[in-house]
């Protein structure tokens, strides 16, 4: 069966510090991979998605970047965090193709102080 792992689960970072959130998917090949952000009590904002190694699409201009160095690995990064980067970050995957169920990781709570 397929599983998705995301870490760290929580982190508190000072303004201006770097960020790296990592996500891996097991039990499938060539997945589509996603990063979403959810502000407290709000909806899910699509940040990045990837259909293959090295292929990243950005949905909104922001202080974040994403990379996909391996087929089942997706990384969310920032060089200098802002207070507004605080939120709940969710990695997700779908089987290749459109209109598929989205499977989410457990999420990472980021607080920028």
């Amino acid at each position: 069966s397929q599983t998705i792992h995301q870490w760290p689960a929580t982190l508190v970072q000072p303004v201006g510090s770097p960020l790296s959130l990592e996500c891996t998917v097991e039990g499938t090949s060539n997945p589509n991979l996603y990063w979403y952000r959810q502000a407290a009590g709000r909806g899910l904002q699509l940040l990045f998605y990837s259909v293959g190694i090295g292929q990243i699409s950005s949905e909104v201009p922001q202080n974040l970047s994403a990379s996909r160095p391996q087929d089942r690995q997706f990384i969310l990064s920032s060089k200098k965090l802002l207070l507004s980067d605080s939120g709940f970050y969710l990695c997700a995957w779908t089987p290749r193709g459109a209109g598929n169920t989205i499977y989410f990781g457990e999420g990472s709570w980021l607080t920028v102080v």
């Binding site: 979403y36 709000r42 909806g43 899910l44 209109g99 169920t101 989205i102 989410f104 457990e106």
Partner: protein
């Protein structure tokens, strides 16, 4: 992709009352998915609707896809405290704003 609009933003009900959340789009949707997110958790897939006019049921939950495939609804009959959470619709990777349901015992 066009984002679906979801209402209401919040719904507070007495246990045993019914609950409905709605999603609407200005364009025809190929499909729509529904998810539930418990407080502090991550969204979990509930169901997918694909066909025009489709109705699917999961125990007390009824999901509908409009005839024109531009709207969808999730209805919960006789809510229970275990129904608490935020319900999202989704199309083409994009989610509605969600409806947060709270249930008073």
């Amino acid at each position: 992709g066009q984002q679906v609009m979801q209402i209401p933003q919040y719904q507070h009900v007495q246990e045993g009352e019914d609950f409905t959340t709605y999603c609407n789009s200005s364009t025809t949707l190929s499909n729509i998915q529904w998810y539930k997110q418990r407080p502090g958790g991550h969204p979990v897939f509930l169901i997918q609707l694909v066909k025009s006019g489709e109705v699917k049921k999961q125990k007390r939950l009824t999901f509908q896809f409009g005839e024109a495939k531009k709207n969808s609804s999730l209805h919960i009959t006789a809510t229970q405290t275990t129904d608490v959470g935020t319900y999202f619709c989704e199309n083409d990777m994009r989610f509605g704003a969600g409806t947060r349901l709270t249930v008073k015992p």
